[in-house]
């Protein structure tokens, strides 16, 4: 393995420190370090490993929405929250979350499609999500009425801890098993027995 110059890791840290909440894209890091994207990624990864490996480090490196950001380590969250008067954690309603999930996976998508999928009107949640900066207009559908097409924002990726929209976990495809715990249990039970059976045949 190529040995990375310690100084360049320090340099990256100083850049990221200044960038703070804005973060830096890989491209930007490469420009600033006067190197190529690939090397920049290696250096960033080394910085992350340094942070993770040191117990006396309170910060670490994360990639959210395509931007590398320094953030405090999760283990200090309680200590930090202790200082807050009224720590309000993500207060997002189930309805808004459902709408957000539909938009995240199906974007660009119209309100009518969302309504149809949920079986209820979604105007309220959509308005909330726009105001929270999680979704935005991504143009209009070229059909009668030219309805707004919604998509997610960078802030959404940041606040939901996603590197990019491609990094969304896949939707559960055929979830016959997930209907009812009994079914799941039975399936697992059967799987277990099939394995045992096969094992027996091999003897």
């Amino acid at each position: 393995m190529e040995i990375i110059d310690e100084r360049i890791i320090g340099m990256l840290e100083s850049f990221l420190f200044i960038a703070g909440d804005d973060g830096l894209t890989l491209k930007h890091i490469a420009t600033l370090l006067q190197t190529d994207d690939e090397s920049a990624a290696v250096i960033a990864e080394q910085l992350r490993l340094n942070y993770e490996g040191r117990a006396d480090s309170g910060i670490t490196l994360r990639l959210y929405g395509g931007s590398y950001r320094l953030v405090t380590k999760g283990e200090f969250a309680d200590d930090i929250l202790r200082m807050l008067e009224n720590p309000t954690r993500n207060s997002i309603t189930q309805a808004s979350l459902e709408v957000l999930a539909i938009i995240a996976y199906k974007q660009p998508v119209t309100r009518v499609e969302i309504d149809d999928l949920r079986g209820v009107k979604s105007d309220g949640p959509i308005q909330t999500l726009v105001a929270k900066g999680f979704i935005m207009e991504k143009g209009r559908l070229e059909s009668s009425g030219r309805p707004i097409l919604y998509g997610t924002t960078e802030l959404f990726l940041d606040k939901f801890g996603l590197e990019s929209i491609e990094m969304l976990p896949p939707l559960i495809e055929n979830d016959e098993e997930s209907f009812g715990d009994t079914d799941l249990f039975m399936t697992k039970f059967q799987e277990a027995f099939e394995i045992t059976d096969e094992g027996g045949k091999n003897d």
Partner: protein
């Protein structure tokens, strides 16, 4: 008899239906329409006391359920096969469309849960305000005619609100030098002295956070009580004027 309905907020008719399917341990691929429909309608009855906007949406699904149920009661027209291909045309199950909708909805409901988890994981990491680069020199201007996005404004605003939540306790709350009411009373009297014994009420409230303002206000009340000051207002909605007590004058007694 009043039936027991589990008090749960449903996100819509499909959500209610999923809840019933789970609770009744129904096989979604072979829904007993009669049972599900009656349970669904029972719930609607319980909910009818509410004047919900969404009630109409719940009713639409009720109609769909009833329609499916009745279709399933109709005899299957067996002798109607007109050509050979008919044997490949499986009899359409009237429940298919509903099942497909339910499964689709459930997928997104689960995706919503996983998003929530992901957001909770993210929420334990805090970041810092970007450093002020102008301290190092002039920031290069990359003038461009490109349109800006109004949604970036919202994002910026939301980020700022979040940061403020962190900064409030860090900078203001603990570090602040708390001024007591008695100290503030002294400050006010000194100020009045310097200004020839009177000043506008408003000038005392020009700076400071809420707590400072409250302390200032309490100090004024205390000073008024002690008759060290009087507060005058010449006319309705006029500016209020604070006057220091002139030695020897104790009100109008």
């Amino acid at each position: 008899m009043t039936y027991k309905v589990k008090l749960e907020a449903f996100e819509g008719p499909l959500d209610l239906l999923l809840h019933l399917i789970n609770r009744l341990e129904i096989d979604i691929y072979d829904i007993p329409m009669a049972e599900l429909t009656s349970q669904y309608i029972e719930h609607l009855h319980a909910m009818r006391v509410l004047e919900l906007d969404e009630l109409s949406e719940y009713l639409v699904l009720a109609a769909t359920l009833i329609e499916i149920k009745s279709k399933m009661l109709l005899p299957v027209h067996e002798g109607e096969a007109l050509d050979d291909s008919s044997e490949f045309q499986m009899e359409d199950d009237p429940r298919d469309e509903l099942v497909a909708r339910l499964i689709e909805y459930k997928r997104y409901k689960e995706a919503a849960n996983s998003l929530k988890e992901s957001a909770d994981d993210r929420a334990v990491h805090f970041t810092k305000i970007p450093g002020d680069l102008s301290a190092y020199g002039e920031i290069a201007e990359t003038e461009s005619d490109e349109k800006m996005n109004v949604f970036d404004l919202i994002g910026a605003f939301q980020k700022m609100l979040e940061r403020k939540k962190l900064r409030a306790p860090l900078s203001a709350k603990i570090m602040k030098s708390e001024v007591s009411v008695s100290e503030k009373m002294d400050n006010i009297m000194t100020l009045l002295e310097r200004r020839g014994g009177r000043c506008e009420f408003d000038t005392l409230f020009e700076e400071g956070d809420v707590e400072d303002l409250v302390v200032t206000f309490l100090s004024l009340l205390e000073l008024m009580k002690r008759l060290d000051i009087t507060v005058l207002q010449e006319d309705n909605f006029d500016k209020m004027i604070i006057k220091a007590r002139v030695e020897g004058h104790y009100g109008n007694h």
